[in-house]
Point group: C2
Chain length 417, copies 2
C-alpha cells in the first residue's frame, strides 16, 4: 500500500492595528507592553493561503513560501510547530486508510506551502497572515481542539500581530499578566458585519530606504525610548477603552481621532529611539496632510489613517461615498506614472473606481483639485510616489478550504503543485 | 539748528539649541515649559546687524528688514520697544548737541534697520538673532543699564529663543517659576573659548513643503501631545543637568548623545501633535542615517546632529579633523547639482574645504565612498537635495559696532543707506 498523505488547506486574513503594538516585555514569548486593537482586512484582497500536509513518507519538515523553499528552522516557525504538535489529537480517516494517534504528531514530519495574494515585501503584514494561517492549518491538520483564542496565543509566539488574524472584524490583543504568556491572546470585539460601512484603501508607497525590521526596531525602542514607557503605561490603556467604545457605537469621529493619534504616537516613539527609526517618508507625510486638510475642511473626520512599520498608508473611509471621494483625492495628488495603466494601479475592489468616476487615465487627468485646497491651486501632483492602491474592507477570519483544487501541495506527492 | 539723530549699530549672533525649547506655559509672556541649552554660532557667518536711530524729527516708529520696510505693530516688536523704553536713562552728547531725559524715551520715535548675513527664509533662527539684536541695540541707544541676563528676559518677549542670543558660547535659558516671567532668562554656561575645538556645518536642505510656524506648532503640541508633558517634566530636567556636565567637561560623547536624542525627541513630540507636525524630510532622515552609521562605525560619536523647526541639519563635529571628514561625507552623499559651483555650495569658513581636499567639483566626483558603507556601495548620491552648506563654529555674543560705515541708517536722514 502506498503511504497516505493527509492535507489541510486554509486561508487567513491580514490585519491592521488601529491601536498599535510596539514593544515586547518578553522577547522569546512575544509578550507586548500594551494591548492593541486591529481591523481584519478582507481576505479576498489580502490573505495568505496555506496547505499543510503530513505523511509517514516525509523525512523532514519543509516549507515553501510563494513557490520558493524556505527554512523552517527559525524560532518563530519552531514555536508554532512545537505548540501545535503538543496539542494534536487522534485522527482517523478510514476511507483513505489514515490513522494517527495523538503521540504520533511528534514524529510525523510536515510539508507547508504558503502563498500571499499580495506582494510579500510591500510591508503589508504578510508575516501576521502567514503565521496565523500556519497555526490555524496545522491545528486543523492535527485535529487540535483549541478555540480561536487559544490558537491566537500560539500564533503570537510566531509573530506578535499574527494573533489578531485568528478572527474577523475588530480584534483586541490582550497583553495579559502571566509570566508564561498564557493570558496574552486575542479576542473578537465585533465581527465583520457589525460595522460594514467602512471602506479601506491602502496606498503602497514607493520607497528607496531600507527599513528597520519591526523586531529590531521595537527592541531598540524598548531599550532606548523614554517616551515608550509613558505611552504603554499611561496613554494606551485609556485609548483602548475609548477605541472599544468607538467600535461598539460605530462612532467614526472617535474611531478616526484615536486611530490617527495612535499611529502618529507609534511613529513618535520610533523617532524617540536611539538611533531614531523613520518608517514614514515624505510621501507618507503628504498623504497625512491631504487627509488632515480634508477632515478639517469637512469639520468632522471623513477618513482615518494609520501607518505600520513602513511608508504605506492604510486609509479607512467612513463609508463607500467617502471612499470614492478619497480615491479621487488620492489619484489627484498621486496620479499613476505615464507607463502605468489604471487596472494595475488600483487593485482590489475596483467598483470604487467606478463610483469615483475615474475609469481611465483621462479621467485622472481631468480631476479637479479638491475644494479644501482651492486657495492653493495648483497643488503639486506627485506621479510615481505611490506604487499602487488596494481597495478593500473589514473582512472575516480564517477559513478552511475544502476544495482540493485550491490546495498548494499535490495530494499524491506532498510537494508544491 | 538741524535736529539731531542719535544712532547705535550692533551685531548679534544666532544660536542653535542642543536641548530644545518646545512649548510655552504662557503665550503672551513667552514662558517655556522647560529649560533649554544652546550654542551661539559665530556671527561672522550667521548674524543680524541692526542700526537703531532716534530723533525728534521722526514722527513714527519704522523698521526696515533686509532693505524692505516692515510693520513694527506686531506684538513681538511692541513688547521689546515698550520694555526698553521703560528702562531708558538720561543721555547726553554735548558734541552733537544731544540731550535726552529719561522720560523722553516714551515720546521719541525710533527707526530700525536690520540685515541678516544669511537667508532669512532658510529656517536658520533669523528671528532669534533679529530680536536679540533689536533689544541689545535699543538698550544701548536708550542708555539702559540692564545687563545681558536682564536684556535676555526682554528679548524673550520678542521671540523665545532670542534670549539665548544675548551671550556667546554655551547658553542656558532658565524657564523660571514666577508668573510674571521675571526669572525666565538666559545665563552663560561657558564662553566661546571654553570648547573651541568644535566645528559646525549647517546643511540647508531644499524643501517643497510649507512648514508649520514654530509659534503655532508649539501651541498645537502643548494642546494635543500627551507625550510633551512627560518630556518637559521628567525627561528634560535630567538632560539639562547632564548637558551642563558635558559642556563643563568638554565631554563630546555625552554632548553628542544628548543633543541627538533631544533633537529626535523634539521631533517626536511634533509627530505626537494633532494634526501631526513634520519638520524633517527624507533628506534630513538621510543625513541622520549617514551620521548614525559613521558614529557607530567609529564606536564613539564623531558628530552630533540637531534639527530645529525645519529640515536643515546642524552638525557639530568634535574637531577640525572630524569636520573635514564630515564635509567629505556630506559632499559624497549630497553633491552640488550640475550648475552649482563649489564657491556657492560651501559657505562660511571655506578653509574646511581645503582640509577636506575638496576644492573643485572634480574632487567631489572623485570622493571614495566612506568606509562605513563599503559593503553597500554604490550608495545613492542625492544631488540637489541640499541647497548649500555653511561651515562655522561656536562664537561670541552681541557686539557694538562703532565704525559708522557699518551703520544701516544714514546718520543725516535716519533712513536706510
Amino acid at each position: 500500500m502506498a503511504e497516505w498523505i493527509h492535507t489541510v488547506t486554509a486561508r487567513t486574513p491580514t490585519n491592521i492595528a488601529v491601536i498599535k503594538y510596539w514593544g515586547k516585555r518578553d522577547e522569546s514569548l512575544i509578550l507586548p507592553v500594551n494591548d492593541s486593537i486591529s481591523v481584519t482586512l478582507d481576505p479576498q484582497h489580502l490573505c495568505t493561503t496555506t496547505t499543510v500536509a503530513v505523511s509517514p513518507s516525509f523525512d523532514q519538515d519543509r516549507m515553501w513560501l510563494n513557490g520558493k523553499e524556505i527554512s523552517l528552522s527559525g524560532g518563530r516557525y519552531q514555536n508554532c510547530l512545537r505548540e501545535i504538535r503538543a496539542r494534536g489529537e487522534d485522527f482517523e480517516n478510514k476511507e483513505k486508510g489514515i490513522k494517527i494517534a495523538k503521540q504520533d504528531w511528534q514524529k510525523l514530519r510536515v510539508h507547508v506551502a504558503s502563498y500571499n495574494n499580495f506582494p510579500t515585501a510591500a510591508g503589508l503584514a504578510s508575516s501576521a497572515a502567514g503565521l496565523a494561517c500556519l497555526v490555524f492549518a496545522l491545528a486543523k491538520l492535527m485535529n487540535a481542539k483549541e478555540d480561536a483564542s487559544q490558537l491566537s496565543a500560539i500564533a503570537r509566539q510566531g509573530s506578535g500581530s499574527a494573533c489578531r488574524s485568528l478572527y474577523g472584524g475588530f480584534v483586541k490583543w490582550i497583553m495579559g499578566k502571566e509570566v508564561n504568556g498564557s493570558d496574552s491572546l486575542a479576542v473578537q470585539l465585533a465581527d465583520e458585519n457589525h460595522w460594514d460601512d467602512l471602506v479601506i484603501i491602502i496606498a503602497v508607497v514607493s520607497s528607496r530606504q531600507k527599513e528597520t525590521s519591526s523586531t529590531t526596531g521595537m527592541r531598540d525602542t524598548v531599550e532606548t525610548s523614554i517616551l515608550l514607557q509613558h505611552r504603554a503605561r499611561e496613554v494606551v490603556p485609556k485609548r483602548i477603552v475609548k477605541m472599544e467604545e468607538a467600535i461598539r457605537n460605530r462612532n467614526f469621529s472617535l474611531f478616526a481621532q484615536l486611530a490617527c493619534a495612535d499611529s502618529n504616537q507609534f511613529h513618535a516613539v520610533c523617532l524617540d529611539t536611539c538611533p531614531p527609526i523613520f518608517y514614514m517618508n515624505d510621501t507618507s507625510h503628504r498623504i497625512i496632510s491631504c487627509i488632515e486638510k480634508w477632515n478639517r475642511f469637512e469639520e468632522s473626520p471623513q477618513v482615518a489613517y494609520t501607518f505600520d512599520a513602513g511608508p504605506n498608508a492604510v486609509l479607512i473611509a467612513r463609508n463607500r461615498k467617502t471612499a470614492a471621494l478619497l480615491l479621487q483625492r488620492l489619484l489627484y495628488f498621486f496620479p499613476p506614472s505615464a507607463d502605468t495603466d489604471m487596472g494595475s494601479y488600483v487593485l482590489g475592489d475596483k467598483s470604487i473606481l467606478k463610483d469615483a468616476g475615474v475609469e481611465g487615465i483621462n479621467d485622472v487627468q481631468a480631476l479637479p483639485p479638491p475644494p479644501e485646497i482651492k486657495d492653493n491651486v495648483p497643488a503639486q501632483r506627485n506621479g510615481g510616489e505611490v506604487s499602487y492602491f488596494i481597495c478593500t474592507r473589514p473582512g472575516r477570519g480564517p477559513l478552511l478550504l475544502s476544495d482540493e483544487s485550491l490546495a498548494l501541495l499535490d495530494h499524491s506527492t506532498g510537494l508544491p503543485k
